[in-house]
């Protein structure tokens, strides 16, 4: 089979269209560069009637929203999941790691929680405090101007709080707390932990004439049809197209490798067109990888040549190393005072209106690094699973459990909106021994060697999960609630989710000043190859307890400014 070479040459090829790729598309085309965006999934626009799931009812589907083909339910706007047919990955013995991929324009930005937190000054320099891992080669002051610009461009609601490691930004106003969130506020204060308005990239106020304003359906995970939440397609790529940017979109196009010349410089990429199963080559002056931390590592490791024997950008041997995800543990509670509620529309925005930022930076604890707490609850729209065990909470208030008949209706109504949950999302310690590599024995259906994961949590993360449960129980007690379920013990790692489950995997191509210990420099440029950049979360040295997206966006913008400058100076 012959690789078909496109006669067209681009200034930049961007691999992947999620947060990092979308931002690169916008910034680079605004600078007048011609860009090819190569995306492994189909085109997606949440405003398209064929693709829209927002405001659909469960009964419009024969499975009532069940997650048979999409892990977060069939209305969720992620085409993919932890398992994708035809695109396997493997795990070393003893490893638990699940890899979530979303194959579509915009990638995982279409369904994510929109929790948009800046890393704080401490988050870039954790080694200074605990001696573990490494510091970033940059600090908060380097990124702050970009966070500011991202806030204004994309929009994030929140509140000025003056908490040192939770930097304030240019916020839109926050939505008022819902009832269960007032209970959470009460419980958090009794437990002596902070609680503040959440910070989500959802437009509670207009920011420009191209995007709508939130109409409070709570369905950001379905991707907003009026573009009132942040998705890469609707907020970055479409506006860039509308502004006349030179963008060629290659959808359903899975990049196999970056091609280099004899001198080792990148000349383009080879991708497989998923529709006709043929290979194509695109050429460009610069290659920007934004395929996600693990996919980018895979592309680099599969890009072997005479000049790059161990894979592109891998002279340090660090590609794939230091893979890490956020920690996660959760707990549910029953709040008797929330029984027999008066029913009104409290959908609100997608996700929580309040949250608890980490409060323990100055505390002596058994584990390093912290976590934030997310809250859920309320009288949400029923979906598959609603009504299961309709009266099991009678266990706590008296009455039959099980049974049949009209009384089940009353039971369901009695308990509707009376349960809440909280989830901790924490910082893990990056380890060289947690990594992904190429499994030479296995290829996917596109003939591309797949990733093999090697990952184990350490006691740091397990101890942190234990602390999460202590906190949850204290908060629930303060809410006047009853903790549901049994507390998982150390044998179950205190309910710590397997790595990959929180979908914040980062670190596989980390940045650093030392080319022997890192893959890119502090501008996200490969140490080994000057015209290849990485603008996904692969460059993260450490993943704070904050969700990674806002930092991906800021660092992508920063890298693009550098690319533009270097192209102008003819350095690349």
């Amino acid at each position: 089979m012959q690789i078909k070479e496109s006669p067209e040459s681009f200034d930049v090829i961007i691999v992947g269209s999620g947060a990092g790729g979308g931002m690169a598309t916008k910034i680079l085309t605004e600078a007048g560069l011609s860009v090819a965006v190569v995306e492994a999934g189909p085109f997606f626009d949440p405003a398209s009637p064929e693709q829209q799931t927002q405001l659909k009812w469960p009964y419009e589907s024969p499975r009532r929203g069940a997650g048979s083909t999409r892990p977060f339910g069939e209305f969720d706007a992620a085409y993919g999941g932890w398992e994708i047919e035809g695109e396997p990955y493997t795990r070393a013995p003893g490893t638990k790691f699940d890899w979530f991929r979303s194959r579509m324009l915009g990638g995982r930005t279409n369904h994510w929680g929109r929790i948009s937190l800046r890393f704080g000054p401490l988050d870039f320099k954790r080694k200074n405090q605990d001696g573990l891992g490494d510091n970033w080669p940059i600090g908060y002051d380097d990124v702050k101007p970009y966070y500011d610009k991202v806030d204004k461009l994309i929009g994030v609601f929140g509140s000025k709080e003056n908490i040192p490691n939770e930097p304030d930004g240019f916020f839109l106003p926050a939505p008022k707390p819902r009832l269960h969130e007032l209970y959470y506020i009460k419980g958090a204060r009794k437990a002596n932990i902070p609680v503040i308005p959440s910070r989500l990239s959802i437009l509670t106020k207009r920011i420009n004439d191209d995007r709508g304003v939130c109409f409070y359906c709570s369905q950001c995970s379905r991707s907003c049809s009026v573009y009132a939440d942040f998705s890469s397609g609707s907020c970055l790529i479409f506006p860039a197209q509308k502004a006349g940017g030179q963008i060629t979109l290659f959808n359903d196009s899975m990049v196999r490798e970056v091609v280099t010349d004899d001198a080792g410089k990148a000349t383009g990429v080879v991708f497989i067109n998923k529709k006709n199963r043929k290979e194509y080559q695109l050429n460009a002056k610069v290659v920007v990888l934004a395929a996600s931390a693990c996919s980018t590592a895979r592309i680099l490791l599969n890009s072997k040549s005479k000049a790059h024997k161990d894979g592109l950008g891998n002279s340090s041997g660090m590609v794939g190393k230091y893979l890490h995800d956020s920690t996660g543990a959760s707990r549910g509670a029953f709040i008797p005072e929330l029984m027999d509620r008066k029913i009104y529309n409290e959908d609100g925005v997608g996700g929580m209106h309040v949250y608890t930022p980490w409060w323990g930076n100055d505390k002596k604890l058994k584990f390093p690094r912290g976590y934030h707490i997310e809250v859920w609850g309320g009288m949400g729209m029923p979906s598959y699973g609603f009504g299961f065990n309709p009266n099991w909470l009678n266990e706590y208030v008296g009455g039959d459990v099980g049974g049949y008949g009209d009384s089940l209706r009353d039971d369901v109504k009695k308990f509707y909106g009376s349960t809440v949950g909280m989830a901790g999302r924490g910082e893990s310690v990056p380890m060289e021994s947690n990594y992904c590599e190429i499994d030479e024995d296995v290829v996917d259906e596109w003939g591309i060697p797949v990733l093999k994961f090697n990952y184990k949590w350490s006691d740091y993360e397990v101890d942190q999960a234990e602390h999460m449960h202590d906190t949850f129980e204290e908060v629930i007690d303060g809410m006047g609630g009853t903790v549901l379920g049994t507390r998982p013990g150390r044998d179950k790692q205190f309910g710590l989710e397997a790595p990959g489950r929180i979908i914040h995997e980062v670190g596989t191509t980390r940045m650093g000043d030392n080319p022997k210990k890192s893959v890119t420099n502090k501008f996200s440029q490969l140490h080994d190859v000057k015209n290849v950049f990485i603008v996904d979360a692969g460059v993260f040295v450490s993943q704070a307890d904050k969700n990674p997206t806002w930092t991906i966006l800021a660092l992508s913008w920063r890298a693009c400014d550098y690319i533009i400058k270097e192209l102008k100076s003819q350095n690349i």
């Binding site: 829209q52 469960p58 706007a77 304003v213 359906c217 598959y384 299961f388």
Partner: protein, 234 residues
């Protein structure tokens, strides 16, 4: 009556009930309404469309099994003075689909029906569906209360619990069930906090300092402008 017709007749009830209970006026919409696509789409990918088509064409339960499921559905959730029964809103149809969609449910449900018939035959020398309502309820009473079941009937209890779960979820995700529940959302609105009377009932109040951080909905349409320090000034 052949199998297809029999199933069709089983399903007729749901359509009729659906029509009767439609037509409540939506709340007044106070903001730009997104266009909600009507019709056959609910955001399926081409692969999902193919998968659904195959599932719809597949027949899993036979006529007897479907009848038994329908009887159980209406025991679990009978009609009341305001709302129809589970089969009135097509819950048996939903169950017939979901086992094809979640194949791990096939054997437990098919086997559970067989278990129920065997048990019923022992007691009444009839299949469950052929028993009188009184006899059916007498059987259900022995397997409907987890924790109170004789150990030798545990298999029946598991089956009944599955049927209860599927019936309840099928009902409360139906149009009628959602109306019965009273869920008020899934429509464009401008959410501006918890109603006053609810706050009062719970002995709660919004704090002034907190509200100062919250959205002024009269200005939601004004384009955001900040001063250099990040204070919103529009």
């Amino acid at each position: 009556m052949d199998r297809r017709e029999s199933i069709k007749s089983l399903l007729l009830g749901s359509v009729a009930a659906g029509l009767v209970l439609q037509g409540c006026a939506p709340d007044e919409i106070t903001t730009a309404t997104p266009e909600v696509s009507q019709g056959p789409f609910y955001g399926r990918t081409p692969d999902e469309v193919i998968r659904d088509k195959k599932l719809h064409e597949e027949m899993f339960f036979n006529e007897h099994e479907l009848s038994t499921i329908a009887v159980l559905c209406d025991i679990i959730l009978p009609k009341n003075t305001s709302y129809g029964s589970a089969t009135d809103v097509g819950v048996h149809e939903f169950i017939a689909f979901i086992v094809k969609d979640m194949t791990s449910k096939k054997t437990p449900l098919r086997g559970g029906i067989m278990w129920l018939d065997s048990f019923s035959n022992k007691s009444y020398k009839k299949d469950f569906a052929a028993c009188s309502n009184k006899e059916q309820l007498a059987i259900c009473d022995q397997i409907a209360y987890p924790g109170k079941t004789s150990p030798e009937l545990n298999g029946g209890e598991k089956f009944f619990s599955s049927m209860r779960n599927l019936t309840m979820t099928g009902y409360f995700t139906s149009k009628v069930g959602i109306e019965d529940l009273g869920y008020k959302g899934n429509m464009p609105n401008v959410w501006d906090g918890i109603p006053e009377d609810v706050l009062k009932d719970h002995g709660m109040a919004y704090e002034k300092e907190w509200l100062a951080k919250c959205v002024d909905q009269t200005k939601r349409g004004d384009i955001a402008v900040w001063d250099d320090k990040g204070n919103l000034i529009s």
